[in-house]
């Protein structure tokens, strides 16, 4: 991916997290799940690895926004879990900037992990499956607007 801008490392002020923790958490889960299901629909995720996610509970926590989303994968779809009744099989915790850097393929998760900017707890092998599955996605190129020469 050829990025002409870089996402800086930043940390939102702590009042954001204090406020965020008091806001409802379901919109995060819905947005995340919608994104994952869009990737499914575009067949960007390989079936062999998806099978390993079946019925696993995932939690993504954004430390500096106070946001948190839990979801699972069942019968071919990612589904939000609004009131998780058990500890997740796999949990990620990081600041917003770290997630943005990961999504833009600007930073490597191992780098963030070594530098303690990304926390991964739970089933380590499941974490590796998810990480490598995201790494292997060939993001389609954004449609270019045709310009006349």
């Amino acid at each position: 991916m050829n990025t002409h801008f870089t996402i800086p490392k930043f940390r939102l002020p702590s009042f954001v997290a204090r406020l965020g923790e008091r806001l409802p958490q379901w919109p995060h889960a819905l947005a995340l799940v919608a994104g994952l299901n869009a990737a499914l629909k575009m067949k960007l995720l390989p079936a062999s690895e998806l099978a390993l996610l079946e019925d696993k509970l995932f939690r993504v926590r954004v430390n500096d926004t106070g946001g948190e989303a839990s979801y699972t994968y069942r019968n071919g779809l990612f589904r939000p879990v609004f009131r998780p009744e058990r500890e997740p099989d796999l949990a990620f915790a990081a600041n917003l900037s770290a997630y943005l850097q990961l999504l833009a393929r600007q930073e490597d998760p191992d780098t963030l992990f070594f530098n303690r900017e990304l926390e991964i707890t739970g089933d380590t092998e499941l974490g590796l499956v998810v990480k490598n599955m995201l790494d292997a996605i060939e993001w389609p190129r954004l449609p270019l607007i045709q310009t006349s020469h």
Binding site: E49, Q106, E107, D110, R116, T124, E125, N132, A136
Partner: protein, 335 residues
């Protein structure tokens, strides 16, 4: 000046392969999605189709694809390794990187025209061992284990016509390459047997208030404060209590970085420089490849003017394990 060495970069996925090619690698190295290679991690590596796409992409831009089949064939399953070699030849990889002498023998007899490289896992540290592999298996290149000083690397090069490849950047370990059983000691599995050191299913990152404990198959191998950099969960990089002191008793988590001695490496006739990290993401491959490419190009443009740019060092330091880079064995005084 001597010929500029090839830059050999890692690819654990198709996007990583493209990142390596697009950022200036002369060749990428990769493995099949099974235990025939030493980075057999869940979700990593190439199925036949992805490999075909990768070969097409690399060859389209004039770069090479080297396939690592660098684990040791396991009893009762030798056929799996033979099939991997046959498939690699069919798919048209430029070279196969092998460690097991039985597999070298198979590949040479079955596929006389196929270019073969001796893997770092083959653990050949002397020109006698390398020349033996040349005589018996007609290897084209050997990758040296990361235990030799620069003077020793030069001595090897002066006494063999086999091309020599050395590591230029990446995580270091105890580096008893191809002969290490530390992982098996903790969990019964190691690179030589299952293609992975400290397999993830045995690793537990246990977050406690103010610290994180790392356990490998239940054995506590390290404990990090919240501000301390973390490393890979291998026994050799753990901190252990020895006679009342708790410290990195075997090896500190560090990364190799040869930029300061790159002119010397080129001068002694090293033919290829390898970047470690098939387990890393496309972002890492991009960062490291473009940095080493810039350094090699600067050297090509004038060895006497070469100096290590702070921006290169900063980029490499950021992705390093343990946030510490060293020259490894290259500049050690021991012989």
């Amino acid at each position: 000046m001597s010929q500029l060495p090839d830059l050999i970069c890692p690819a654990g996925s198709l996007p990583a392969l493209k990142a390596a090619v697009d950022n200036g690698a002369d060749a990428v190295y990769l493995g099949y999605k099974n235990d025939t290679n030493a980075r057999n991690f869940a979700g990593l590596n190439f199925e036949a189709k992805a490999l075909a796409d990768g070969i097409r992409y690399a060859h389209g831009k004039g770069r090479e694809v080297l396939l690592a089949i660098n684990t040791f064939a396991q009893a009762g399953r030798v056929d799996d390794w033979h099939k991997a070699i046959d498939a690699a030849v069919d798919q048209g990889v430029d070279a196969i990187i092998l460690a097991d002498v039985g597999l070298l023998d198979y590949a040479r007899n079955r596929h006389p025209q196929q270019r073969l490289h001796l893997s770092v896992q083959g653990s050949a540290t002397s020109y006698e061992a390398i020349n033996f592999c040349q005589r018996e298996f007609a290897i084209h290149r050997a990758v040296l284990p990361r235990v030799l000083t620069l003077a020793q690397v030069e001595h090897v090069i002066q006494n063999t016509s086999v091309e020599i490849e050395v590591f230029g950047f990446g995580s270091l370990c105890v580096m008893n390459e191809g002969r290490c059983w530390l992982s098996s000691y903790a969990c019964g599995e190691s690179p030589n047997t299952v293609g992975a050191c400290s397999p993830a299913k045995y690793v537990k990152w246990d977050k406690q208030p103010g610290r994180m404990d790392t356990r490998l198959n239940g054995i506590l191998i390290d404990r990090f404060g919240d501000a301390e950099p973390a490393g890979y969960p291998t026994l050799c990089k753990g901190r252990f209590e020895v006679e009342g002191d708790t410290y990195y008793a075997l090896e500190e988590p560090t990364s190799l970085n040869v930029l300061p001695i790159l002119p010397d490496i080129v001068k002694i006739g090293v033919r290829a420089i390898k970047v470690e990290g098939r387990q890393r993401s496309p972002a890492y491959v991009t960062q490291v490849t473009r940095t080493l490419r810039a350094a090699l190009d600067a050297l090509r443009d004038g060895a006497e003017r070469y100096h290590v740019k702070p921006a290169w060092q900063a980029e490499l330091a950021k992705v390093s394990e343990g946030s510490q880079a060293t020259l490894g064995a290259y500049n050690r005084p021991w012989r």
